[in-house]
């Protein structure tokens, strides 16, 4: 009976309209994207970069090829040469960003924290060639990222793997990896 009365008095519709009316006076939640930017959380898996070692100015990659092995989409290609002692020297690090599925396995498995998925997400382009990152391009990506980064020390969640038992981490990652950006910034 009560429901019938409500039905006649349009209470169901008016109740809904009241909710929409209340929302009219609330703060809008829409982000006006090109003018405002969305908040990006730390360790967002965005554009790839090779970390530029502040001391040598080159990448930290030791050509262990772990990233090549774990990559589910097989988008990484590493070429290197070996000297007589068996020490490896990186020749080129190619990464096909269009094949990448951004799982973050490469940065998680990297023992020295060389490859990283930066928090840079605006990198659309009109030609495919610009997504074939080689070593120079990846280092350049890092420089571009550092320019916009405000803190002086960069670290990534996938570098220190909080909560994961020590035995499951690569040896160097147990110490924790950080990059001092001050040197790079001073150099310009």
């Amino acid at each position: 009976m009560r429901r019938k009365l409500y039905y006649i008095l349009f209470k169901d519709l008016l109740g809904g309209l009241l909710i929409t009316l209340k929302t009219l006076f609330k703060k809008p939640v829409t982000v006006q994207y090109p003018r405002e930017s969305v908040k990006i959380y730390p360790s967002f898996r965005g554009r790839h970069a090779l970390v530029r070692d502040p001391e040598t100015g080159l990448s930290k990659c030791v050509a262990c090829l772990k990233c090549v092995q774990v990559c589910p989409s097989r988008c990484i290609k590493v070429t290197y040469e070996e000297d007589v002692n068996g020490a490896r020297k990186l020749l080129n690090y190619e990464l096909e960003a269009l094949r990448c599925i951004y799982c973050g396995y490469c940065e998680e498995v990297c023992p020295v924290g060389a490859i990283v998925l930066t928090e840079w997400f605006e990198y659309s382009d009109t030609n495919r060639e610009s997504f074939l990152f080689d070593r120079e391009r990846l280092l350049l990506n890092w420089d571009e990222f550092v320019k916009k980064y405000t803190n002086n020390v960069y670290t990534n969640k996938f570098w220190d793997l909080r909560g994961v038992p020590e035995v499951n981490k690569p040896a160097l990652k147990r110490l924790g990896i950080q990059v001092n950006l001050q040197v790079l910034k001073d150099r310009g």
Partner: protein, 409 residues
């Protein structure tokens, strides 16, 4: 007065009708309300559906076959692409089956975190379902409101693991990273907000006469028929069968948390809507308990396989590096994990999501079959749609909560 009589096929036409001429139209695969690339071949008599045949396979990516060429850890990001709306559940389902075949157990903190993110994903999935379902029927406002809250949940995922949809957060033997205290606090504060929001959706829809006209008595399926068609999840619970994998075969921390399984009575679109809204409330309850009882400790088991399984040192031959050797070393007849086969299921957002894994002892699955709820639910569309108006077909597709990425895989 609010009840709408359901019309049977026999009432609308009889085969003796001399004037009956079927009208065949093809709906989809590029139709906005088929929720992906679903095609329906419809036989119409006027506005009424006489017959309906779903055509699937437009989004087939060969995911099961692809899994046979990848290591166990590499398959995990693929499962994100099944039901891309609640990727956490897929990852957990896959991680569980490998864990069970390996015989490892995640630590309690890993279990609780996995349960928490699974429930968040379930809410996100139900929100997207409610948004699109309401939009199909004609309620635009609900669509916008639901996406507002879904954005919050995706932000939590971004904060936790760095990705919004293709998360790959749960892993074999636990989760990949610990969640920060700050994030847990934010999620905890979000729970009362979300409870109020669900009340808002209910205020907009539950008593609304247009919503009732469009949903009550549409797409009725009885409990026995639903079981016969293999429906699971909220689609089955709407018909009154209280089957829930989380309750009947508890995995992760579901055995330790307290929650209820909402069931409908009539098995129509409205009851399935009601079930899903109640389920969101129960999910919030589970998340609350998970955060309150979150144990300390590591988040993944020490025995969990490394990302670069099989063992790097054993198999790697530097001089013969290349794509071919990558495949070759996986073929080595060394038993890395126990041989055997196993089916294990989780309660995905859409229904029972099962993984059937056959292991031959090598580093990659011999066979991975995925039992996806959407695939099964699509087979029930003809049963639900027969005798209804063409406009109600949109409601029926919406109410089953279909994701074509999961169906075609």
């Amino acid at each position: 007065m609010l009840e709408k009589s359901s019309i049977t096929k026999d009432q609308i036409f009889s085969t003796e009708d001399p004037f009956f001429s079927p009208f065949v139209i093809q709906m989809g695969p590029q139709h906005p309300s088929t929720h992906g690339v679903l095609k329906l071949n419809l036989v119409l008599e006027g506005e009424r559906i006489v017959d309906c045949e779903p055509i699937i396979g437009f989004l087939h990516r060969g995911l099961e076959k692809l899994a046979e060429n990848l290591t166990y850890t590499q398959v995990l990001p693929l499962t994100d692409r099944l039901d891309y709306i609640s990727a956490m559940n897929n990852n957990t389902g896959y991680a569980l089956v490998v864990e069970r075949i390996l015989g490892i157990e995640p630590p309690p903190r890993g279990k609780y975190l996995r349960t928490m993110v699974c429930e968040l994903a379930r809410i996100a999935s139900h929100l997207l379902w409610l948004a699109t379902h309401a939009l199909d029927i004609g309620a635009m406002t609900v669509f916008l409101y639901c996406f507002r809250e879904r954005e919050r949940i995706l932000d939590f995922f971004e904060d936790i693991c760095g990705a919004r949809l293709t998360v790959s957060y749960p892993k074999i033997g636990g989760v990949r990273l610990d969640v920060e205290e700050r994030t847990l606090e934010e999620i905890y504060n979000f729970i009362p907000v979300m409870e109020r929001r669900i009340e808002e959706y209910e205020g907009l829809l539950s008593d609304n006469r247009i919503w009732l006209d469009r949903t009550v008595g549409v797409g009725v399926i009885s409990a026995n028929e639903a079981l016969a068609y293999g429906l699971t999840g909220p689609s089955l619970r709407g018909s009154g069968v209280p089957y829930d994998v989380r309750k009947h075969f508890p995995y992760d921390a579901y055995g330790e948390v307290d929650f209820e399984v909402p069931v409908g009575t009539r098995g129509d679109t409205y009851d399935r809507y009601w079930c899903r809204l109640q389920e969101m409330r129960q999910s919030l309850k589970i998340i609350k308990q998970c955060i309150e009882r979150l144990p300390e400790g590591p988040v993944c088991a020490e025995l969990s396989p490394d990302l670069d399984m099989p063992s790097f040192k054993r198999a790697f031959r530097a001089e013969a590096w290349g794509e071919s050797s990558f495949i070759a070393f996986l073929n080595e007849s060394v038993e890395l994990i126990p041989k055997g086969e196993l089916y294990s299921a989780v309660e995905g957002a859409k229904g029972e999501l099962g993984f059937y894994l056959v292991s031959d002892g090598s580093g990659r699955p011999y066979r991975l079959h995925i039992r996806t709820p959407s695939f099964v639910h699509i087979s029930a569309i003809p049963k639900l749609a027969k005798g209804h108006f063409l406009a109600d077909l949109i409601t029926i597709i919406g109410t089953l909560d279909i994701v074509m990425g999961e169906c075609d895989r």
